[in-house]
Symmetry: C2
Subunit: 243 residues, 2 copies
């Protein structure tokens, strides 16, 4: 049975303008690989209502699960929750359960739950809240879309909450073999290897080393014995070194 | 006049599996901001023919310019050139001009231009070649789509070749102001500021500092005097510090 598939939507002008390097995508990619959910596509869009709505609707139709990051804070540029509601045609307003979580948090800190902070309690009808152990303001799950914060520590905490609730597949396993020959010299044998192991994904990632150019060959798949067999062939045939 | 728009398509299983962190997106974002081309969307797809074709066709219709990275090497997993040809309905085969470039390069190095390396001379009919000063194998431009290598040094060299040929707009300018107050306390005034300066994009990026939480407010736009005026208001009204 093929693994479940996922997509990610990163929302934020700061990534597209080059101000910030996104860190959440890499984190999610590693976590999903570990539980056997295949991340098939990532989109990064700006803080633009229509762009978010279109991307969410395309991705949730195409993949089993969608993860979003960014745009659920208290400021005017945080428009993700309303865009998700629009994508689902759902009503959205301040919800009592989310408000209670924020109220308790700010009461503990002696901080006012003002109008801006109350924006973080805007949750679409029908969504389930995702716990935020860092700063209380919840994410939410709307059908197969998990809406999470962009701040990396909070994003990671929310992913840790969500992942155990999803049905994964066979975890993606991989082995790398380093070959001290240019890609162009090994491409033929590598192509033949890929044909002998159709259930593996075999990637070639060239590098420039001190002794000239080489390539890291990464064997990926769900069956460790197949990966080991392919690695052994690479090592025997092309003088590869386990990397 | 609004700035020209761009999209980027990153092609590569290695990014989606979490093995590699993409560096090209951030590089391109910074370069485009400098010449006044607005990067509106990035997609990352796997080494999958249909996924590449669909993404290229969606992006080239929606944006003025599209940049792709990855998948133009000599190995079996390098399928980008053929996918681009399919997206345009163009014929593709080894082209004499690209073959001559490779032949000259490998002759200089005393390396055989074998069948695998010849794959890198597969260029769609009608495309213009993009010079590769690092390892010779060219990228190419097909209408508004620039197809470039994934290796960061080569990608950067190709971007440097392409950018001067594009018509840019007003370079995106920005200033950051650091405010030592939680986002929830400044969101109201910030929203009012955004309404007073509709031509600016005002982003709020929270951080946790030693003295508690604060936020970096980034003012972006094409008119430096507007940005300076908004920054002065932020500094006067909320005690911000130029960051």
């Amino acid at each position: 049975m093929p693994n479940p598939t996922a997509a990610m939507l990163v929302i934020g002008d700061e990534i597209l303008s080059g101000r910030t390097r996104d860190a959440n995508m890499h984190h999610l990619a590693v976590e999903l690989a570990g539980v056997g959910i295949d991340l098939k596509e990532v989109r990064i869009v700006s803080d633009d209502h229509d762009a978010i709505v279109a991307a969410v609707n395309a991705l949730r139709a195409a993949r089993d699960t969608v993860f979003t990051s960014g745009g659920i804070g208290p400021t005017h540029d945080d428009i993700t929750a309303d865009a998700i509601a629009a994508a689902f045609g759902a009503h959205i307003d301040v919800r009592d359960d989310a408000r209670a979580i924020l109220q308790a948090h700010y009461d503990r800190n002696g901080t006012e739950l003002n109008e801006a902070r109350l924006r973080m309690a805007r949750i679409p009808d029908g969504a389930d809240l995702i716990d935020n152990p860092v700063s209380a303001a919840p994410g939410f799950t709307m059908e197969n879309v998990h809406v999470m914060a962009g701040v990396p520590a909070i994003f990671a905490a929310m992913v840790a909450t969500i992942l155990p609730t999803l049905t994964g597949g066979a975890p993606l396993q991989s082995r790398a073999v380093r070959i001290e020959m240019p890609e162009g010299d090994i491409a033929g044998p590598l192509n033949a290897l890929a044909k002998r192991f159709p259930d593996l994904t075999i990637g070639s990632y060239p590098f420039q080393g001190q002794g000239g150019s080489g390539s890291n060959i990464v064997l990926r798949g769900h069956d460790a014995s197949l990966i080991d067999a392919a690695a052994s062939e690479l090592i025997a045939e092309l003088g590869g070194i386990p990397a």
